[in-house]
Symmetry: C2
Subunit: 336 residues, 2 copies
DNA sequence: GTGAAAGCGCTAACAT
DNA sequence: ATGTTAGCGCTTTCAC
């Protein structure tokens, strides 16, 4: 029971492979094939469940109908949710998706891009880049490759972006804390620190403070140094506890950091810090509902990022998108 | 600047396409090509960064070097972590991975299997199936398709499996609760209920109880009816609160359920139930560390599932695996 | 309106 | 030990 192919259909229907191929690809009209024959072909083929050989088709046409998604870590729920949305939309349009993780490693991201574009023949890529600057992507050979960047931008690089308003969200979150009478807020960012998301969030934090006329404490903006995150956070909290006894809020720039903060505060319940400090975090998760203390969070429109990015990429592939497109989505403050 | 192909290499090196192809595919020795020419070819090609056209190769050989992964929901961290591991191992061996979600829908799983096998030409599949029984996969046309099932088994169906010891883990978890003097344990399972994982976990719960000589309360095994999980859990807890005032533990069969239980207990803090009940859950997550009460959990060897399944599948594809293989991994009790 | 035939880039059987 | 050649299954130009 081997696979059906055009030759078989040709035999059974009494039409040539050419004609059948044309009809099946919706080009019947263009080539002037009579409506009657078209209907007959579609009808007959419909019941035979024939699927064209993808490789022959790709070899001939140069289009693979698959696109690649590169994120830093697909095990991160933020990205896996986005990926699910992207996959769904692409499937509806006859595309398939290949997902890979760069592990925040520039070299690996390079390899993945090359692999997907050259080796696999992807028709386009969606990338949450881990690069510091744009020098890799500004190479002329990429000027014809349909690329859409999500989540993170590359400074000074004109490209297609779908991102959230990190600055505005951060500003809003910190503003909320200040309105709640918080005066001294510790901001903990992850690594790597060069990401546009991190920078924008920190800027939002800073500007919200200064706009409220609060003095700037540079030592209250700390970033994790890599390695074990729990231990890292523990050290930071111990340090701050001594130097800033009047700390009254902690802003975690992603949910993993928030989890580590909560764990640590729980273990330090005897300390005064633990008692009064408010917790705020980027990213929202169901788990924040059952935490030992309320978490004020900023949920990201995950589904939107995925769908907007997919549709944009398909438009670019189909030549419908002439200039670069910048889509910025807003976040949503969740108070508990 | 178009892509390099064998013809170009042939021109520049002065060898035929055949010879170069043989050498590049490691078949130089088999075809008796002199070591010297082999070295020369490899050397020259090495600096020209040539990658063979995947589609031409697949068309010719019938092998695509990509494999498919079908899970119920890639946005579920349990599966996204597994997927990351699978991807890594496959990459090392020159394969790529395509991931799709079935959304616990049998029809969609069918479509995905057909799509990956027929349309995309996958060399093999790894599946966390959502099917109730094996009738779909026992079709003769699948007898030659390399398939590995993970996480969930299909009763009475001889196949390649990589799963965890759901029964034993559940038994151990409940045994621990009993040893802590718990006497009445509510067990909440997710939907769909027919999954082997759910059944095995419930059986482990039951047997642990009966082995301790505790009477069976069938109404203490409840399953979510679908729809909003928080609301669902809320109703269950309200109900049980009235009928079983002496409830002293809750076993959640997955982490989403545990999250909902914790959220609800928090809101019901005035109720007596909330005070004394212990919480146990399948699946572990960092978030359990910062919860409003300690969660006893059962972590699953996620990385192992992925790597064992990938290696098994590759062995099957390479014909190294003659009989069906059943790999069962143990869980790890985490007490907080 | 419809069909024959060339060729996408690769591999492997067959020559030499 | 190396090269020639015939396809893999599809699309598309060109001829009728």
């Amino acid at each position: 029971m081997k696979r059906l192919q055009l030759e078989d259909l040709s035999q059974k229907l009494g039409y040539s492979k050419t004609l059948i191929s044309m009809v099946l690809n919706g080009k019947g009209d263009r080539y002037g094939i009579s409506k009657k024959t078209q209907a007959a072909v579609l009808e007959a083929v419909g019941m035979m469940n024939y699927t064209p050989n993808k490789f022959a088709k790709a070899l001939r046409t140069g289009r693979s109908f698959f696109i690649g998604l590169i994120v830093s870590d697909i095990a991160n729920p933020f990205y896996s949710k986005i990926s699910k949305n992207i996959e769904q939309i692409l499937h509806e349009r006859g595309y398939s998706l290949m997902i890979c993780s760069s592990d925040e490693n520039e070299e690996k991201e390079k390899r993945l891009v090359e692999m997907m574009l050259n080796q696999q023949g992807a028709d386009g890529l969606i990338i949450a880049t881990t690069f510091k600057d744009s020098s890799y992507y500004t190479q002329p050979r990429f000027s014809n490759s349909p690329l859409v960047f999500i989540d993170r931008i590359l400074p000074l690089y004109q490209a297609n972006y779908v991102v959230i308003d990190n600055y505005g969200g951060s500003f809003e979150l910190v503003k909320y804390l200040l309105d709640q009478a918080c005066k001294k807020i510790l901001c903990i960012s992850g690594s790597p620190t060069h990401l546009s998301t991190t920078e924008d969030r920190i800027n939002g934090y800073r500007d919200a403070l200064s706009k409220s006329g609060l003095s700037d404490h540079p030592e209250l903006v700390v970033s994790l140094s890599g390695g074990d995150i729990d231990e890292n956070v523990s050290n930071i909290l111990n340090e701050v506890q001594n130097t800033h006894k009047d700390l009254d809020a902690i802003l975690a720039l992603d949910r993993q950091i928030a989890a580590a903060v909560l764990k640590n505060l729980q273990q330090k319940e005897q300390h005064q810090l633990a008692k009064k400090v408010k917790i705020a975090s980027f990213d929202d998760t169901k788990f924040f509902d059952g935490m030992s203390r309320p978490v004020i969070s900023l949920s990201q429109p995950v589904a939107d990022i995925g769908s907007k990015a997919s549709l944009l990429l398909l438009d670019i592939i189909d030549g419908k998108q002439l200039s670069k497109s910048n889509i910025v989505l807003s976040t949503n403050l969740i108070v508990r």
